[in-house]
Symmetry: C2
Subunit: 333 residues, 2 copies
């Protein structure tokens, strides 16, 4: 890898994966293939999920949320992705000297609102202030703990040929919203970030958890990146059908204009699931019954053969969907 850190190392794509493997796994141990959105710890009383994420999004405020809501939901969703019931979050703030206290209050209140709405408390925190110019306004790191129900075990290694891929709604809303905001285009657009907590949605699948292979929230790097990780972790190929992918018309149009592919755009309120084929319709019906899952759709399936992601286009042709290389959109989350 290169000698200096480049923005692409934070893209969530291939360069991020290499940085993590070569620097962090090498130093700290662990198996990249075993990685999940949350670590799972065995305690005497059961299994605990543990996860952390830093949020460096710019701008701090956007249609549909702000960095506080994002940091709260992001960590809740990482717990949800291993099937855990979130029980507590921590929040650590790195603040640039000169930041408006009013903005900080708005952001903290927005986390507090999420906390009250979900009933998940923020129980630990830290505040650091750095001199002007040493940070860009505000970074938040949230960590979370959750309890995993006994019967739940979601991991890509459980994937079998024929399993179905489900997404819980439209693709790329968060990434498109932030890009449009930054580019100053599409001011009239109704596309808001989809930033929302998904633990309630995932918990609805508990009664059919034996059919749920794995779950992942498609954040940085988007659906394309998650599917590639799953292909690698399960050592199978994944087939997606372009005309089954739910994308808002405005997102589709805006992406064409900006030269972006919605399959790589960040989502902050969408889950991907791999479900055993015979329960896929049941799972879809369950997900559609939840406000956060109204637009859920079966978008593909697990196949044999080479470890890769293949898209069947609207015209019936097939193309590889690679893991993204290089920077896609910096500071999207």
């Amino acid at each position: 890898m290169s000698d200096t850190i480049r923005l692409a190392h934070g893209s969530g794509g291939e360069m991020t994966a290499r940085l993590i493997e070569e620097v962090f796994y090498t130093a700290l141990g662990g198996d990249p293939k075993g990685a999940n959105d949350s670590a799972i710890l065995d305690l005497s009383g059961g299994r605990i999920a543990f996860t952390t994420d830093s949020f460096v999004i710019s701008p701090l405020f956007f249609p549909g949320g702000d960095i506080g809501k994002l940091a709260f939901c992001g960590t809740v969703n990482d717990l949800a992705a291993v099937g855990a019931r979130p029980i507590a979050l921590s929040a650590s703030f790195i603040i640039e000297e000169g930041m408006d206290v009013a903005e900080l209050k708005t952001i903290a209140l927005s986390m507090g609102e999420m906390s009250r709405e979900t009933g998940i408390p923020v129980v630990a925190g830290d505040t650091k202030v750095v001199d002007k110019g040493s940070a860009d306004k505000l970074f938040i790191t949230t960590s979370g703990i959750g309890v995993i129900p006994d019967q739940v075990d979601y991991h890509p290694r459980h994937t079998r040929e024929g399993d179905k891929i489900i997404i819980s709604g439209t693709m790329g809303d968060h990434g498109y919203c932030i890009t449009a905001l930054r580019e100053g285009i599409d001011i009239q657009s109704s596309v808001q970030s989809d930033c929302q907590p998904l633990h309630g949605l995932v918990a609805l699948l508990n009664p059919i958890s034996a059919a749920v292979r794995t779950v992942r929230d498609a954040t940085r790097g988007g659906v394309g990146t998650v599917l590639n990780e799953w292909a690698r972790q399960s050592e199978k190929s994944i087939l997606v059908f372009e005309n089954h992918l739910p994308v808002k018309d405005e997102v589709k149009g805006g992406c064409a204009l900006l030269g972006l592919d919605p399959i790589y755009l960040a989502n902050e309120g969408k889950m991907l699931f791999i479900i055993a084929a015979d329960k896929a319709d049941d799972a879809l019906a369950i997900l559609k019954s939840h406000p956060a899952g109204l637009d859920s759709a079966i978008i593909g399936e697990v196949a044999g053969g080479k470890t890769q992601v293949i898209m069947e286009t609207e015209w019936g042709t097939r193309r590889v969907v690679p893991t993204p290389r290089g920077e896609i959109l910096p500071r999207i989350c």
Copy 2:
């Protein structure tokens, strides 16, 4: 409070306390008086401690450690301060574009070394990269989970008049080391940061845990800040004896030169304890038996009267040791 964030909001002193109370507690709920270094969660299998801290120290490398070792030990020590046995850490990295990968590797390896030495795994992580100029090289946020033994319950509310205050070694080494490094003075000094994990030291007190009222690592804001927090949380006064405070001669001399008071200097490998009077000598003997506690000393006692910290000086006079106001040393941890 002021309308904009000032460096002093990160000092660990009075302005930090006000920021946390007025912004974060207001927004997120919770009781500042109940606060501890780690949150304590009741699970079916027992009590879990949960804590988080961001590290923004500059420079990244210093005599006795680096930001990686510091981030590891800091979170371990916050768990130790509630008597928890650390079971897992998470680490989240915010990296500035352009950082040397070699430096990042050194830092990650230093965390890995601490992990192997202590047997505490780093089980979850995240990496974000921000554009050049939007962060100062590297910030690390570590969170940690620990299990609290059944009989352990360390909190300032247990404090009684007559209890003794113990420190586990010399005061101000970390703060002095970083300041000397930044000021370019005292290059020949042998004063290194005291950065070290203290969970083993604290665990030695488990057999006499009923006599241990509370424990705290005296980091940002130093011993003076912890004692003031304890006075407030226990609603008692605390008396410290200046000539019992262990301070290295070089630190004492350097502080005189720089106009600093070692009682407010950060430590990264020292614990403060409040111990029931009849067990104070036992506790001292136990602490002195551990390599990290060789210079432990009884430095004061809990008294009645007004909530404040009083120092009896070497000349027998008494003065108030206030909570520090304003910025002491930015980016010390």
